[in-house]
């Protein structure tokens, strides 16, 4: 189990979707290398998953773990703002209560 589970909802393979995926991967590699998992969900193929999470806009990034749920909408072009939006502005120290989940 990874420490960070992020799901990215996109609509098809549009330039905006590609851009968001690339931005997200770059950011995660930079900040949480080896500790994250990204799932990309195409709402055209899985509208029921969008329904379940009540997603309206695409791209929407949802932080599933650690709780609580956090959402960021847009192509994630500004890494600092994304981290702020996910409430992950600084990597958590090793000794906090999420420590047990670390690999």
């Amino acid at each position: 189990m990874k420490e960070y589970i992020l799901k990215l909802y996109v609509t098809g393979q549009t330039p905006r979707a590609e851009r968001a995926i690339a931005n997200l991967r770059r950011l995660c590699e930079h900040e949480f290398a080896g500790r994250y998992e990204i799932e990309v969900i195409d709402v055209l193929e899985h509208p029921e998953l969008a329904e379940q999470e009540r997603i309206l806009a695409t791209p929407t990034l949802v932080r599933f773990l650690p709780p609580p749920l956090r959402r960021v909408i847009g192509d994630l072009s500004d890494s600092d703002k994304v981290l702020l939006g996910l409430d992950l502005s600084a990597p958590p120290p090793k000794a906090d209560n999420t420590g047990s989940r670390q690999p």
Partner: protein, 503 residues
């Protein structure tokens, strides 16, 4: 699909609406419903789907941006719509896009509403929807502050709805009852069809109206139509001026309940006519209505009395005092007395209830005592619409109708009711006080009677334990109707008589 195909309409099945809309909503198109807060936009949006399910077997999708699906399910229960059951049957689907306080959302960069559209299409195909309601546009603009993006995305959604062949309602807020159609410039992409709902405060009364501003390429009735929101039913539109004036007329006479009055009217009232009885308080209007009822019941007709001034007990006691047994008539199923306080509800609701009672009881004659009591619960315009609506409805049913109206002055004078309805009534009977030698006496005259000869005299009438008795004409008195009776000497009368003689 080509543009040459004429625009068809689907009946909404919302009571009265299809009459005003000349058949219903333009099929396969989106209609914008605009209104201020509290103008019943959500109810209309939900009822459009509910009526489709109940009356046309058409499934629907409700997209909500404002209230949660749970709230809507609960709020619409009062109208008798079991949305949860329809959802279970796969005939109603929600796309809940209402804001969730627990979802903290930050916007970073470009986005679209692709997920919303995907969810809508998913819901439409899941229930096989023909109808769709979206409520309300303003709320999505508050959720996403970038209005350029939202406008562009709503435009995409509108195109998608057309492609899916859905007949849709899209609600939008207005800031004022009269002014720009809606905020956010949404008219640009759904400007083909616009309905405006209003909830105007006029003279301390709320008046709800519906106006079809435009249906591009297809006819509809113009102007504002009153509507009402009724528990257990939802919205009921009252298509007043859309009512066609094509009543049949009948030569059959119906007794007034008084042999003397029948004689004055050339043998009785006409079967499908409206009789207005006007007089000051205490001149005998309720008595005339009572005798009118009794006269019908004696001939095995079904009679319906709407009373707005007196309680049931009072009416029954009064009738007994005039030798009429209302209790027996009711027991035999010939009479139905419905009492209501004018203030108990708005005029639109009164009208709807009265129509419903008339339909369910199916009477041959109806009396309203008094119509003018309803004047005080509405603005003049609303009252006029009420009177026209009731009159034309009664005439359509081929019922004899008697309305009483109270004049404000004891002597002479006319009431607002007379001014409003004298032209649409067929017979007018005036009851007046006549002061003679220090004594108040009562006078009666048949002022007009369409299509019949009638007595033009002003006759004295008296009331005793057996009811009303019409006596001789007042001779040697002039000015009764003007409220200033004056005694004329025999010589004067002779002079006047000679004025009009042929010799």
């Amino acid at each position: 699909m080509t543009d040459i195909i004429a625009i068809t309409k689907i009946p909404s099945h919302i009571p009265g609406f299809d009459h005003v809309a000349d058949g219903g909503l333009p099929s396969g198109r989106t209609t914008l419903v605009c209104g201020t807060a509290g103008s019943a936009k959500t109810i209309l949006a939900a009822q459009f789907l509910a009526e489709g399910i109940r009356n046309a077997g058409e499934s629907g999708v409700f997209v909500t941006f404002e209230e949660s699906a749970a709230d809507i399910r609960l709020n619409m229960r009062g109208f008798g719509w079991d949305i949860a059951a329809w959802e279970a049957e796969g005939r109603w689907a929600f796309v809940d896009a209402s804001p969730e306080p627990s979802h903290e959302t930050v916007i970073v960069g470009d986005y679209d509403l692709g997920a919303l559209l995907a969810r809508i299409e998913h819901a439409v195909s899941r229930v096989g929807a023909k109808r769709l309601s979206m409520d309300s546009l303003g709320a999505i603009f508050t959720q996403f502050t970038d209005s350029t993006t939202v406008r562009r995305e709503m435009f995409h959604i509108a195109i998608a709805l057309k492609r899916l062949g859905l007949t849709a309602l899209l609600t939008a807020e207005r800031t004022a009852e009269y002014g720009e159609i809606a905020r956010y410039g949404v008219e640009e992409f759904v400007a083909d069809n616009v309905i405006i709902l209003r909830n105007v405060l006029e003279g301390e009364q709320r008046r709800r109206t519906l106006e079809i501003l435009k249906f591009r390429g297809t006819p509809h009735h113009k102007g504002e139509y009153p509507f009402s929101i009724i528990n257990g039913e939802g919205m009921v539109v009252i298509p007043l001026s859309a009512i066609e004036l094509k009543q049949k007329s009948s030569d059959v006479r119906a007794t007034s309940g008084s042999a003397d009055l029948d004689t004055m009217c050339g043998g009785g009232f006409f079967r499908d006519s409206i009789i207005l009885v006007s007089g000051a308080t205490g001149t005998g209007k309720t008595l005339m209505a009572t005798e009118f009822m009794a006269g019908g019941a004696n001939q095995d007709e079904r009679c319906l009395l709407f009373a707005f001034e007196e309680s049931r007990e009072q009416l029954f006691r009064n009738a007994r005092g005039w030798g009429v047994d209302f209790e027996r008539m009711e027991r035999e199923g010939k009479l139905n007395v419905v009492c209501a306080y004018p203030e108990s509800e708005g005029l639109e609701d009164h009208l709807i209830r009265m129509k419903r009672t008339i339909v369910s009881f199916a009477p041959q004659r109806v009396a309203v005592d008094s119509l003018s009591a309803l004047e005080r619960v509405s603005v003049p315009r609303g009252y006029r619409e009420f009177v026209i609506g009731l009159t034309s409805f009664i005439k359509h049913q081929e019922i004899t109708g008697m309305f009483t109206a109270t004049t404000p002055n004891l002597l002479g004078g006319e009431s607002v009711t007379e001014a409003h309805i004298s032209t649409i009534t067929d017979t007018i009977i005036l009851l007046r006080y006549v002061e003679m030698y220090g004594e108040m006496r009562r006078g009666l005259t048949v002022l007009k009677m369409r299509g019949s000869r009638h007595d033009k005299d002003i006759r004295e009438f008296t009331i005793d334990a057996r009811g009303m008795h019409i006596g001789k004409p007042f001779r040697e008195v002039t000015g009764i109707l003007a409220g200033v009776p004056r005694h004329a000497s025999g010589g004067e009368i002779e002079v006047i008589r000679h004025l009009f003689s042929n010799e």
